[in-house]
């Protein structure tokens, strides 16, 4: 009898160990699957946002609604089901300029959800220069934070050329895209009215990230047109943000031609590394080997370390 508790104890331990092993075997794949699901929901997957305006490109054959063959409701009705939604969006954009209310009714043909909200945002962006109050009301009526933010971002871009101060105020309502919005709107403003862009950035509004990316936007957008022009703008920005401005310059120039960008960067003296850093970052997706090589060529240890750290991210 005295051995029974021993046997029972050993049996209990073995049972618990085996039970735990098989329970873990079942639970861990579940955890891995859930983690994969969470990661899949993070931005950075199939669709990068921002910059949104433009959104997902329409599939072949649908057109953009601007400059393509005119769409009609009948055209959209005849579309295969998987293209019909994009067709209604394009039709709404096409209609918005002449008849905003009809464009909004076209959006209602879309099922409730992201496509309909994107459609409303497109209409608002289209009508913003001529009917700002109506556009703002359309944006405010969008229920989700994401598309309401995108809508205000689009309004900011739409007004950048004609009303810089008005445009930048819409970025305050761009939610998650607020900093992106200020960067891009200021960049667009710089292309047509550099003093206005510099005035906005010089106010040093918002947190550190917002303030520094403001000057980055000026460098990037102007470099898409002309590196020397961008460098001139960067050199008159506050000393503490000049390096950031040259990083944006490098990125913007690399979008056009990497070799020309690197050649230009070499002429920027103490900011050559910042410029090359921007070129390297811009290559992350298209040419990671060259990105790494450029990072390794940076002469400032801090810049090189930061650049290389991003290579492996």
């Amino acid at each position: 009898m005295s051995t029974l508790p021993f046997s029972a104890l050993v049996l209990l331990c073995v049972s618990l160990l085996l039970g735990t092993r098989f329970a873990l075997g079942w639970m861990v794949p579940v955890a891995a699957a859930r983690q994969a699901e969470v990661e899949a929901r993070e931005p950075g997957g199939a669709m990068e946002v921002p910059p949104k305006p433009g959104g997902l490109a329409p599939p072949p054959g649908v057109g953009t609604g601007s400059g393509d063959a005119a769409l009609t409701p009948a055209t959209c009705d005849r579309m295969p089901a998987d293209l019909r939604g994009t067709c209604w969006q394009a039709l709404a954009r096409q209609t918005a300029g002449a008849d905003p209310e009809e464009a909004l009714r076209v959006c209602e043909r879309l099922p409730e959800g992201a496509l309909r909200e994107e459609c409303h945002a497109d209409v608002a962006e289209t009508i913003a220069p001529r009917a700002r109050a109506r556009a703002a009301a359309v944006c405010a009526s969008i229920p989700t934070t994401k598309w309401r933010g995108q809508c205000h971002f689009g309004m900011g871009l739409a007004l950048a050329e004609t009303d810089p101060e008005g445009a930048i105020t819409f970025c305050d309502s761009a939610e998650a895209f607020r900093t992106f919005c200020r960067h891009d709107v200021v960049g667009e403003i710089a292309m047509v009215n550099l003093p206005a862009a510099q005035t906005i950035c010089a106010r040093e509004e918002g947190n550190t990230l917002t303030r520094k990316t403001c000057w980055h936007g000026i460098g990037k957008y102007l470099a898409r047109r002309d590196m020397a022009e961008a460098a001139g703008a960067c050199l008159v920005s506050p000393a503490s943000w000049q390096a950031l401005c040259f990083h944006g310059l490098g990125w913007g120039a690399a979008e056009r031609n990497v070799d020309d960008a690197l050649e230009g960067c070499a002429t920027f003296g103490e900011y050559a590394d910042n410029c090359r850093h921007g070129v390297a970052n811009q290559l992350k997706r298209s040419d990671p080997a060259r990105e790494q090589a450029i990072c390794e060529s940076l002469t400032q240890p801090d810049a090189r370390a930061k650049c290389l750290a991003f290579v492996t991210q």
Partner: protein, 59 residues
């Protein structure tokens, strides 16, 4: 002998319990709201900076 077995069994159970708790810790992750679905205030500075850098908005 009996005490040694009892102590060993206790240690094994403790280790198994600890392992199970550690592995199961990740089974129910907090639901993650994608960055672009959050308001500006719901994004930490670190998240924001990483996102901006990834898309070429800062160094």
């Amino acid at each position: 002998m009996r005490r040694i077995l009892l102590a060993s069994a206790g240690l094994v159970l403790l280790a198994a319990g600890g392992l199970a708790a550690w592995r199961l810790n990740g089974v129910e992750p907090e639901p993650v709201v994608p960055l672009d679905e959050r308001s500006f205030e719901q994004i930490s500075e670190k998240e924001h900076e990483d996102w901006l850098r990834k898309l070429g908005y800062t160094d």
